[in-house]
């Protein structure tokens, strides 16, 4: 049942639902087709890692910065990984400049949880002096163009940026930490990628466009690592999923994630 307001919006919903019910989409794709995927790495010079990912007209830039900082009180022997997401106002006419809103908080949280719960970095190896000095890894997601499915696009860019990053090397002597001119590759333990599946009427489809996200009933995002393990799940939207729909969604995600994986 649609919960979108406004006549224009309801007409759009009716149209999209009708097309989707027939197994097709407004832009001609099949329900389980991704749009064209493109990934460029090393696009920025001032950061340790960077990548730009495109899903059709959706475009996300991720910069990875390594620095030195204090560990958290409860994990004195672990490095710190921080994920942040910003929706720039150039990405879509409806985005406004200002502090992060619900959507950008969700994007950052889901990508962050994806990286964290999959333990993609060995955080203990990112400790320099226990309790005093550790690596700080900032993963900054910057949304440059919005046409739906930001989570999948951001996860692709984040993994691509981390995989190609060169981290600075510090020497530690008597708790004195010194930056050297050397760098080394970042060791990635797992490569979780996200597949978002939306429900419109009784249909499930992948890689939703902005219009499809606007009219969707619900969305489930499933992050899987390279062994097919499930790492993160996020369901949003004001309609529920049946047990069968969930099983189907996991199968779809397991299949599509292999396709995505070819790009990073």
């Amino acid at each position: 049942m649609s919960r979108n307001v406004g006549i224009a919006s309801r007409l759009k919903r009716n149209k999209i639902t009708e097309v989707v019910a027939s197994g097709k989409r407004m832009d001609g794709r099949d329900l389980l087709d991704y749009r064209e995927i493109q990934i460029k790495t090393g696009v920025l010079e001032k950061v340790e890692g960077s990548a730009e990912a495109y899903l059709g007209k959706t475009r996300v830039l991720v910069g990875v910065k390594f620095g030195k900082g204090y560990p958290f009180d409860d994990t004195p022997d672990k490095g710190v990984l921080m994920t942040n997401a910003e929706f720039t106002p150039i990405a879509h006419p409806t985005f406004e400049p200002g502090p992060p809103d619900e959507r950008s908080i969700e994007l950052a949280r889901v990508v962050d949880r994806g990286l964290r719960s999959a333990e993609i970095l060995d955080m203990k190896k990112l400790c320099l002096v226990p309790g005093k000095s550790v690596y700080m890894v900032h993963v900054d997601i910057y949304v440059l163009s919005y046409d739906g499915n930001l989570i999948d696009c951001s996860a692709l860019a984040a993994i691509a940026a981390l995989k190609t990053a060169k981290m600075p090397v510090y020497t530690v002597k008597d708790e004195n930490v010194k930056l050297t001119k050397k760098t080394k590759a970042v060791k990635i333990l797992r490569e979780p990628l996200a597949v978002s599946i939306v429900k419109i009427g009784d249909s499930l489809l992948v890689d939703p466009s902005a219009d499809e996200e606007e009219v969707m009933d619900a969305r489930i995002t499933i992050t899987l690592d390279e062994k097919g393990n499930v790492c993160t799940i996020q369901k949003v939207g004001s309609v529920g999923f049946t047990r069968d729909e969930l099983k189907t969604a996991v199968q779809i995600a397991a299949e599509k994630v292999e396709e995505l994986r070819k790009n990073v």
Partner: protein, 241 residues
């Protein structure tokens, strides 16, 4: 309780069986100034939920012409965790407020109150693992206590994996030590899962096992919720489906 899911019989940290819920207590109508309210103790979680509305929405331009807006707020008291936390909402709080809303919305006949707002405020007085599921359990009871028509109650709990074993309703300690945690919310009448999240690493089989185990847990919680509502819930039976 469905015993077939428990693969081992190893005792858990707190002595529970793998598919055993923590002690659960729900009380409705506990706040004098709210339209509806509930108090829940789920393990060591202590949570008060107040519902206000349907009432006029301010500012009006954010109201929806054909339905009510459901607003949820998940808020932790500074003393609810150790060490004390700042009263300012964190990104995690905002995300939980959002998924709470999505977990409850499918149950509520929002169409009956166009342009109005229903506020659901959850105050975490003490936090054990699984605060979000406890909030949803209390909020669903509080919505009915407020006389708001619903399709069904929404029951919620998590399943997860710890030391190679699938377990139900993880406490704080298990939450931190376990491999994965899958909070879920469920409406038994429509058989819809309205909240589903996960963090950790699970094979697809284990993930499916967690969902099944959590749904069974929800069914037990559902009975406690119904009990808490007693006669009030009886009035609402006619609304369902």
């Amino acid at each position: 309780m469905s015993k077939k899911k428990s693969k081992k019989t190893t005792k858990r940290f707190d002595g529970r069986k793998p598919d055993e819920l923590r002690p659960l207590k729900i009380e409705s109508g506990v706040l004098p100034h709210a339209d509806g309210s509930a108090y829940i103790e789920m393990g060591r979680n202590k949570i008060l939920v107040g519902v206000f509305g349907p009432r006029e929405m301010h500012p009006k331009r954010f109201s929806k012409p054909n339905m009510a807006t459901l607003r949820c707020r998940y808020h932790m008291a500074p003393f609810s965790v150790d060490p004390r936390r700042s009263p300012a909402p964190s990104r995690r709080d905002n995300e939980i407020s959002m998924v709470m809303r999505y977990a409850l919305e499918p149950a509520v006949f929002l169409e009956r109150y166009p342009r109005s707002v229903i506020d659901v405020y959850a105050e975490i007085l003490e936090a054990d693992g699984g605060t979000r599921t406890a909030c949803i359990n209390a909020a669903s009871v509080a919505l009915v206590d407020a006389g708001i028509p619903v399709r069904d109650l929404v029951a919620s709990c998590a399943a997860g994996k710890i030391d190679g074993q699938l377990v139900l309703d993880l406490g704080d300690y298990e939450d931190k030590e376990g491999d994965a945690d899958v909070p879920l919310a469920y409406m038994p009448k429509t058989e819809h899962v309205t909240l589903l999240q996960m963090d950790g690493i699970l094979s697809q089989d284990d993930f499916n096992g967690c969902i099944d185990m959590a749904i069974e847990g929800c069914k037990q919680i559902y009975e406690v919720q119904r009990e808490a509502l007693k006669k009030k819930y009886g009035l609402d039976e006619g609304e369902a489906n």
